[in-house]
């Protein structure tokens, strides 16, 4: 049963990330996703110190605020400060991430968070989760109760906003010209990415979440020609990575989150190289 929960949480993280990541890569915002994933850390830690529990509402809010703060800080450095964009991104998120790591180091022992958890997540310890909830005679790890609603929110957001997201992603200028509120959609998307990153953080850590955001949608993008199939395939690849990663981790006695990300990378490069070989033969 332990394996089942790990695979389930991994799959839900992968699907939430894949749905949003598809839009991020098409909007050329992959690195902004990377920046947000790093930058939510201080928000998580501070809210955690105050509320004393992981994955609670205050933690979500704290992290969402820092996620937004990152985009604001990047804009501020770039537009008001006159610093070039790549450096603005690079400095903003490392700065916020550094604050988060220092806070964690300073309060080690006080809180149930450590450096390893920042990088590898807690998915390996999922079955030991003390807050397990019993449902239909089955003890369900607490993580499932945070990641499942998040996945449903993301699914709802992408479902309702599909046409708008598709239009603004393909042709933002045209969308603005016909009167679509492009800024609103942009910030909603950033908010959704922040939310997903925070919730996924607990399972897979701050950096590996980038792999889930970017790699499955990129692999799907290589082989699909329409957006809906691309989204579905991204999720399928995400789930395959979660399953494959779990067994790889068991086999190698290694970090489950890292192995899931590695498997998604292997799937991407298999598709990529296969495409190259195919084009050589055609």
């Amino acid at each position: 049963m332990n394996g089942f929960w790990i695979i389930l949480v991994g799959s839900l993280v992968a699907c939430s990330c894949a749905l949003l990541g598809a839009f991020l890569i098409l909007r050329r915002m992959a690195m902004v996703g990377d920046a947000i994933a790093h930058a939510v850390l201080p928000g998580i830690v501070i809210a955690f110190l105050i509320s004393g529990s992981r994955a609670s509402l205050p933690v979500l809010i704290g992290a969402a605020i820092t996620g937004m703060l990152t985009t604001v800080l990047i804009e501020l450095l770039n537009k008001k400060g006159g610093l070039q964009e790549d450096a603005s991104i690079g400095i903003s998120f490392t700065f916020l991430f550094a604050i988060g790591v220092i806070l964690i180091s300073a309060f080690t022992g006080h809180v149930d968070l450590d450096q390893d958890c920042v990088l590898n997540g807690q998915i390996d310890y999922l079955p030991l989760d003390i807050g397990s909830i019993v449902f239909l005679g089955q003890s369900i790890p607490r993580s499932v109760w945070t990641i499942l609603p998040t996945f449903l929110i993301i699914l709802g957001f992408v479902g309702i906003g599909f046409k708008g997201l598709r239009l603004t992603t393909f042709d933002n200028e045209f969308a603005a010209a016909i009167g679509v509120n492009v800024a609103l959609l942009h910030y909603l998307l950033m908010g959704a990415v922040s939310l997903t990153t925070v919730v996924s953080f607990e399972a897979v850590g701050a950096i590996l979440v980038v792999a889930f955001l970017v790699i499955p949608p990129s692999a799907a993008y290589l082989v699909t020609h329409k957006l809906k199939p691309m989204l579905v395939l991204s999720c399928v690849i995400g789930i395959l990575s979660a399953v494959g990663g779990y067994y790889l981790a068991v086999f190698l006695d290694s970090s489950t989150a890292a192995c899931m990300a590695v498997v998604s990378g292997l799937i991407f490069f298999s598709i990529f190289v296969f495409g190259k070989i195919k084009s050589v033969f055609n």
Partner: protein, 434 residues
């Protein structure tokens, strides 16, 4: 106090650590200037995450933490990440930023996977390998510093030999190509330097935040100077300061990772530079704007005097504050501020407590401005076919900024004009008695 113990450098270990972090801070920052100017901050981030599997593999294969093996491992996997992301971008529809993110997260995941395997393997030598994630300056030993010196020397030689070529290549790649510079070779060298800098820096900063040591000092320096050599110097100072600080923290709080502290110091320096920098800092720009506003205010007051003088055919007659305010939407304080500035230039005199008059020089200055304004109006209406009732606002803006050179051009284009489109006389400066 721990800080005084540190600063006394009694402990030879502390000396070594400090020398080591200062060197690597300086070298990484110098190389980082080129990365920054090439606008490749994000590929720097990818490289720094990507060196992790190389380090782990070097450890797995050698079984030791020999700094040279680690450097070679880091160097190879760092370079591989550049090649791979470049290959994806070049041969598929995936865009550059996405391929960077793919390679970054994939390599980092492999690194984390290996690290986890090593940690579970029970190898006694592995203790401390995880310091490569967030950095630990205190772990630097004499052997490391010797290696830093070798690498720093190689990097500096390359930079000195290729300095002018790099400069040309970064500022204008097309021009560099056209004069036959080996741009591919230069690009190879610059990437190699960046990978080297990162491979060095991770000892103190760690792979997760190393890109900031590359970019931060350069970003800070760019707000203080526009000159490349000075920029290299300033960022080297900033980088070594950050390195020094990292060593201090590591001494005082051994359980703390050094990387985040170095990054905080760097970020604070960078943010301060963005505000205070004398080249393009926010404050500098603000002062320049204020100075311009003051100039506009002074010049507009001079014009008020001229207009009043034109109506009454007496330019030097003293005017009351009230008369001046009536002509333009300035409040009393603004007018007084402008008048005082003009007074210190000796263009205006305060004849009585409430009366102000142009001096002779002030009269000439006001006539110059009016002449410029009216010439520009003529130019707009005759050469650009703009209706006479649309030219005034534009001339209001232009009169304050035209350089003497452009003014001379304007004069020669409009030679011999004596009236503006509203049939007002254009003042002739030659006829004015000095």
């Amino acid at each position: 106090m721990a800080i005084f113990e540190f600063l006394s450098f009694d402990d030879p270990g502390t000396q070594i650590v400090t020398i080591g972090t200062v060197i690597l801070g300086a070298v990484a920052s110098i190389i980082g200037c080129f990365t920054f100017l090439q606008k490749r901050a994000l590929i720097g981030d990818a490289i720094s995450h990507s060196v992790l599997p190389g380090i782990c593999l070097a450890f797995i294969l050698s079984g030791t933490k020999n700094p040279y093996y680690m450097l070679i491992g880091a160097f190879i996997s760092g370079w591989l990440s550049v090649i791979l992301s470049d290959w994806i971008t070049r041969t598929s529809k995936i865009k550059a930023d996405t391929s960077i993110a793919i390679v970054l997260s994939f390599f980092f995941a492999i690194g984390m996977m290996m690290l986890s395997i090593i940690q579970h393997s029970g190898n006694v030598n592995q203790a401390g390998l995880h310091h490569f994630l967030f950095g630990k300056a205190a772990a630097i030993i004499k052997e490391d510093v010797v290696m830093f010196l070798y690498v720093a020397a190689i990097a500096l030689v390359i930079i000195i030999v290729y300095f002018r070529a790099f400069k040309l290549y970064i500022f204008d790649i097309e021009f560099a190509k056209s004069i036959g510079l080996p741009v591919k070779w230069l690009d190879f060298l610059l990437t190699t330097l960046a990978v080297l800098a990162i491979a060095l820096g991770i000892r103190a900063v760690g792979v997760v935040m190393m890109s900031a040591l590359l970019i931060g000092p350069a970003a800070a320096a760019s707000f203080w100077t526009g000159n490349l050599k000075k920029m290299l110097l300033i960022s080297a100072i900033v980088g070594s300061l950050a390195g020094f600080f990292g060593a201090m923290i590591s001494y005082m709080r051994p359980q703390m990772p050094t990387g985040p502290w170095i990054i905080i110091v760097l970020s604070v320096i960078a943010f301060t530079s963005i505000v205070m920098g004398t080249e393009k800092g926010v404050l500098h720009k603000w002062r320049k704007r204020q100075a311009f506003k003051n100039k506009v205010l002074r010049e507009n007051i001079l014009k008020i005097f001229y207009h009043l003088g034109e109506n009454q055919e007496d330019f030097l007659q003293p005017r009351t504050l009230q008369e001046l305010i009536e002509r333009r939407a300035y409040n009393k304080n603004e007018i007084l501020k402008g008048l005082n500035q003009l007074k210190s230039k000796h263009w205006v005199d305060q004849t009585e407590s409430n009366h102000w008059a142009l001096t002779k020089q002030g009269n000439i200055e006001s006539a110059k401005l009016i002449r410029l304004h009216r010439l520009w109006e003529v130019y707009l209406s005759e050469h650009l076919n703009i209706a006479a009732d649309h030219v005034h606002d534009d001339a209001e803006a232009i009169e304050h900024i035209l350089t003497p050179k452009l003014q001379a051009r304007l004069e020669s284009v409009l030679k011999g004009r004596t009236t503006d489109p509203h049939d007002k006389a254009i003042p002739n400066l030659n006829k004015m008695d000095k």
